[in-house]
């Protein structure tokens, strides 16, 4: 299958979209950018390919009757088993790296005890891993660092205590290792992992076991055929802040303005105005009926009113980023926050707290401040025309969306506002479409050259 990849290297996350020749999205992948765009690109691309394999399995199983109504359940289990394979592989890498740290001279006096402790920590982590990826498991994040890190910290504290070792020592070893592991290009062999995951669900050549062993023949044929489909990556286009760090030639790079404009158009063809609030920039974009950019404006010399603003506020409030919106939405009397400057807003926040204002009211005010700033950028780009599409990570924040709806109505009247559930992939989607067009036109040129030669 000929595929086309779009990669959006954002300041916070890196997204990849895989598209087929018929403009259908067949896979999406996301990872944290971690200031290493090379690795982030590989991880996000690999995630998109995993997603594509899952989708192909889905299609193949649908064609053979969908496992008698148990299709979704099976796919959930298959992905869980696959993620477990992946997790255990990275866990092994982390263990090796931690042991490598112990070779340092400063650990000489405690080396043997630390080795024993580490072996115990990783044995426990491996033991509890299946539960992390089993049915109904709740994970706050899918990133290895978050899943493994959280558990390592908890388990090593107990192990250190039992072994009479310093907890800080085990922490130190972990801190030094995790960045290295995170930045290591991901291991390949996706199909191998899928096949091992499949064996866990239907049994292997040694016999039938696992939750779907009774469906073994149908599943093995369908999934096997799906996994045999080669994803032939024809063309890749990169966009976003990190694009300059990649060894892409010019024809493989597009500005995020163009990609967001086209991506929004593809999701909602009636789009005329796009607002994208990313990690460190906010863009107001006007597009025509074909998704071609007519005009754009971006935040100027500072990142006030960008996604990072909310991240900073979350840190100040000792809350998770995803908890801000739900708390702010509870507000019935938002506090007026004047500062769009992130740092000043932090000071204003503390001032308001000391005056006894409610946290949800202050947060609602902060959400309004960020959207007010975005409104100024949109108006500079030419205002809002019907339809209006809101993209970027902040589009997932319901309190920000509520303020946006209010302000759009106040300033521009009744306008259709599109917020796509996959809006975080808008830039990558536009990039994938650019890749598809470039790939198709290259193929056309080759074909023409063939005719003429």
């Amino acid at each position: 299958m000929r595929t086309f990849t779009g990669i959006d290297l954002g300041s916070t996350t890196t997204k990849a979209v895989l598209m087929d020749e018929n403009q259908r999205v067949i896979g999406r992948g996301i990872t944290n950018s971690r200031s290493n765009y090379d690795t982030a690109t590989r991880v996000a691309s690999q995630e998109a390919r995993i997603d594509a394999h899952m989708m192909l399995c889905h299609r193949a199983l649908e064609q053979v009757g969908g496992l008698g109504g148990r299709l979704e359940e099976f796919l959930g289990d298959l992905e869980g088993a696959f993620r477990l394979e992946q997790f255990l592989e990275q866990l092994g890498d982390l263990e090796e790296t931690c042991l490598g740290q112990l070779r340092h001279e400063r650990f000489a006096s405690v080396r043997d005890a630390a080795k024993v402790a580490l072996a115990e920590v990783f044995a426990r982590l491996r033991e509890e891993a299946p539960a992390l990826f089993g049915r109904g498991a709740k994970r706050k994040s899918d990133f290895f660092r978050d899943v493994a890190g959280g558990r390592y910290l908890a388990v090593s504290e107990a192990v250190a205590r039992d072994a009479g070792l310093s907890y800080d020592l085990l922490l130190n070893v972990y801190d030094k290792s995790i960045i290295e592991v995170e930045n290591r290009p991901p291991g390949g062999d996706i199909k191998g992992k899928f096949r091992r995951a499949l064996s866990a669900l239907i049994g292997d050549s040694n016999g039938r076991s696992g939750p779907f062993a009774d469906q073994r023949d149908a599943v093995e044929r369908a999934v096997g055929a799906a996994l045999d489909i080669e994803l032939d990556d024809v063309f890749l286009v990169g966009t976003g802040y990190g694009r300059v760090t990649l060894p892409f030639s010019k024809e493989h790079i597009r500005s995020e303005i163009l990609c967001h404009g086209l991506g929004a158009h593809m999701m909602h063809p009636g789009t005329r105005t796009v607002l994208d609030i990313g990690g460190q920039d906010t863009k107001g974009i006007q597009v025509d009926a074909n998704g071609i950019v007519e005009n754009f404006q971006m935040n100027d010399r500072c990142a006030a009113g960008c996604g990072r603003y909310l991240g900073y506020i979350a840190d100040e409030m000792k809350m998770g980023l995803h908890e801000l919106g739900p708390m702010a939405i509870k507000s019935e009397k938002p506090v007026r926050i004047n500062s769009t400057c992130t740092v000043f807003a932090g000071a204003e926040l503390r001032d308001r707290l000391s005056l006894g204002e409610k946290r949800e009211d202050i947060l609602a005010g902060l959400h309004r401040a960020i959207i007010l700033r975005a409104m100024s950028i949109i108006s500079r780009s030419g205002g809002i025309a019907n339809e209006f599409t809101f993209t970027g990570g902040v589009a997932k924040n319901e309190a920000a969306v509520r303020e946006l709806r209010k302000l759009v109505k106040e300033n521009y009247g009744e306008v259709t506002i599109n917020i796509n559930p996959e809006s975080i992939y808008t830039g990558a989607l536009g990039a994938a479409e650019f890749a598809r067009r470039a790939g198709e036109s290259a193929a056309f040129e080759d074909a023409r050259a063939g005719v003429n030669s």
Binding site: Y241, I257, I292, M298, R301, E422
Partner: protein
Amino acid sequence: MTQPPKASAKQKDVSKDSSMLKQKEMIAGHYRRLSTAGEDGRKVAATFVPGNLNELIMCFDLLNNLPEVNAIQSGLRKESGRYVMEAEKLGHSEDVCTYVKNDLGMIARGNVGPYGLQLPDPDVLLLSYTGCFTFMKWFELLREQYDCETIMMHTPYTGDGKITQNMRDYMVKQLKEEVIPKLERVSGVKFDIDRLREYLKESARAEDDLVWVLQSAKNKPSPIDAYFGGIYYIGPIFGAFRGTKEATEYYGALRAEVQDRLDAHQGPVTPDGEMDGEKYRLVVEGPPNYTSFRDFWKMFYEEGAVVVASSYTKVGGVYDFGFRHDPDNPLETLADYCLGVYTNRSLPQRVEMLASYVNDYQADGLLVNSIKSCNSFSAGQLLIMREVEKRTGKPAAFIESDLVDPRYFSPANIKNRLESYFQMIEQKRAGKHVEAGHVEAGAAA
């Protein structure tokens, strides 16, 4: 198409054409004259680029020292940052024009100017363009500093878009009753109107050639860059050389050089060598950034973008719509010159001018570089941009930087916007709008 020049990893020596080298010599010579003014018994006038009455100043044997030009030179030499900080230490706020802060900071540090040469104290301050309120405040501060004769000639703003006889008479009256008598008193030289006429003749000759050079950008490919390169071209005529034989010779030589480039179908000369493969033709509104001038320019020529017309190269005089200094009406022509400088024009006039540039120079669009600390230029630029877009149907873009404060040039952001803009032009120009499909949300399982 030939690829635009690639950036080398390490900046090599700057390529310059022979006119640039000559211009550099002229400017260096002028700074040498300024540095020895005291020893030579020469008196010095300070004035500004917009409304620079260089011919009149020369009539009194005064040397012309332009603080804006000093600030530009400091910016290009990466010296302005410390001067700006120095002025802030003295109490000047962050939002004050950075030309002003460069000048005041430089004075505070001993007034050693570009080329490491001592700058003289002015004997007279001559303000002949009052559209910029900051200019007046700047000279008030210099008057405080030097306690010297100060001449403030009021130039009415052309709000209705035209110069009236009333305005002209009003300014001539000021010249006769205020400016000339004061300059006579300061210099000890009697005013000779025939001497002024002679200088004005030279001015008109140089202006003819300058206009020819700037309009050569109507050709494809353009042999010049009318913004980054244009700044070198306007140097002598906007500074201390308008009305001199030296300027006439320089512009004659420049014209011949550009003619040769035109005959050879060559593109502009850039700091990294000759530029081939003109890909985008732009009109630019607003001054450039001087502290990162070379890097800024590079962002253009690396992408194959040539500026074919700019408003900044009209800030010291608008000549391409027919105005020339007229020796037959010496004082009226000085009035017309002051009244007609770019920033003394109303917004509708500026829109008209930029739209005509986009059309006449077959540009792909308008780019605005909005300067943080220059209200004189920046006020109304978004409106100007939209109006020019509407009239020409060509895309426009907006970037932001500053004159000579290095803290306000964010290369990553500016490059990002410029690349987006160039790609936007490319996308619109392609013409064959591929109908993009509609992707169902959640099309992927």
